[in-house]
């Protein structure tokens, strides 16, 4: 692997995206905001805790799906950006390098301290998260419910981008060629979070 993960994290974590005079942050082909992480985790937790047990899976699917679609578009913006071309692209030799690079940026942006644990090109990804803001919902004890909806959806999106064919801005093709499931969670008492992504 030619990817220098530490260099990518160091360089991209310093990215200083500022709002313009309209209070709007533009970058990577999308509009961005820089909000307290708790706004997303609080909504996810209240939303999933509010539904009856028989609807929990459906509620979680909706949260993962939102993250999946978001990361598909933003991920494409990342891997076609000037910052990517300057820092990551010179290190890339294979499609798998793109994934390692993308997850290094994922880490630099504070989405989660993640690393690829296993990768079968075009088929399967196992991603580990050693720290992630979504685990902060539990401060004592272990939850019976996993909460890494963003990491789960984004993992599938990055596999879509790597192996799902050309990027489709409408999301009708390319998006949803992989599905992801969280199998371990710091919020559940595990040492790390883990997501398994497989081809549909």
């Amino acid at each position: 692997m030619a990817i220098d993960r530490e260099k990518i994290i160091t360089e991209l974590s310093k990215l200083d995206l500022r709002s313009d005079e309209k209070g709007i942050i533009s970058g990577f082909g999308v509009l961005l905001q820089h909000l307290p992480a708790t706004i997303w985790t609080l909504f996810s937790e209240r939303f999933t805790r509010a539904v009856p047990n028989e609807l929990l899976e459906a509620a979680e699917y909706l949260l993962v799906d939102a993250a999946h679609e978001c990361a598909y578009h933003t991920g494409y913006g990342i891997i076609t950006s000037e910052e990517w071309k300057a820092v990551v692209e010179p290190m890339i030799k294979t499609t798998e390098d793109i994934l390692h690079g993308a997850f290094a940026i994922f880490t630099a942006w504070g989405w989660g301290k993640v690393e690829i644990q296993e990768l079968i090109p075009g088929e399967k990804l196992v991603l580990r998260a050693y720290d992630y803001y979504e685990a902060d919902v539990v401060e004592y004890g272990k939850s019976s419910k996993m909460s890494a909806y963003l990491i789960t959806g984004a993992s599938a999106a990055f596999m879509d981008l790597a192996y799902g064919g050309n990027y489709d801005p409408t999301g009708k093709k390319g998006l949803g060629t992989f599905e992801a499931k969280q199998v371990k969670g710091i919020e559940c008492g595990d040492d790390y979070g883990e997501v398994v992504v497989t081809k549909i």
Partner: protein, 178 residues
Amino acid sequence: MITKDLILKPVFDRKQCRQIADGHTVVMHCHHFATLTTRLANECSMLNARELLAQCSEDVFYKVLGDYCRKHNVSGLRERVEIAESYFAESGLGKLVVKCAGWNTGEVVLEHSHVDEGWIKKWGKSDSPVNHIGRGYIVAMFSVIFDRPPRTYAAKEQQSIACGADVSIITVTDAVNL
């Protein structure tokens, strides 16, 4: 004249790999995420998820803005308004202008809005207002400005950029009046 500068630049914590701004973990997300979450809230009327999202926003920004004012000794009414307007813009939520603010009433204009403009970019115009995150921010801001607890205020979008208006206009009143 701005009387107090906002200090909000995120710093990367290399150990945890998190972006921290003024003691709070912050995270960059795009308009797809904000608008998909908003649409999810719109569609889950069974849970009254629009209000759920607005209340999450209120609770989070009540803490963040309140912490900021305490930590940086922002005590005056005008200073608090300016800090809240600046925070909204710095975080990429748009350009918020407080037209007036009183103990029981207020008017806020959003000249630009991440959620509204993101919605239009993604789906086109909406039939109804969509800025639940913004409403939550505004009532939190009023609670912080006047040192009152969360759920004191209610906000209503009278007109909305997402629905085709040039600016969003939000009125604020005591929650008990609605």
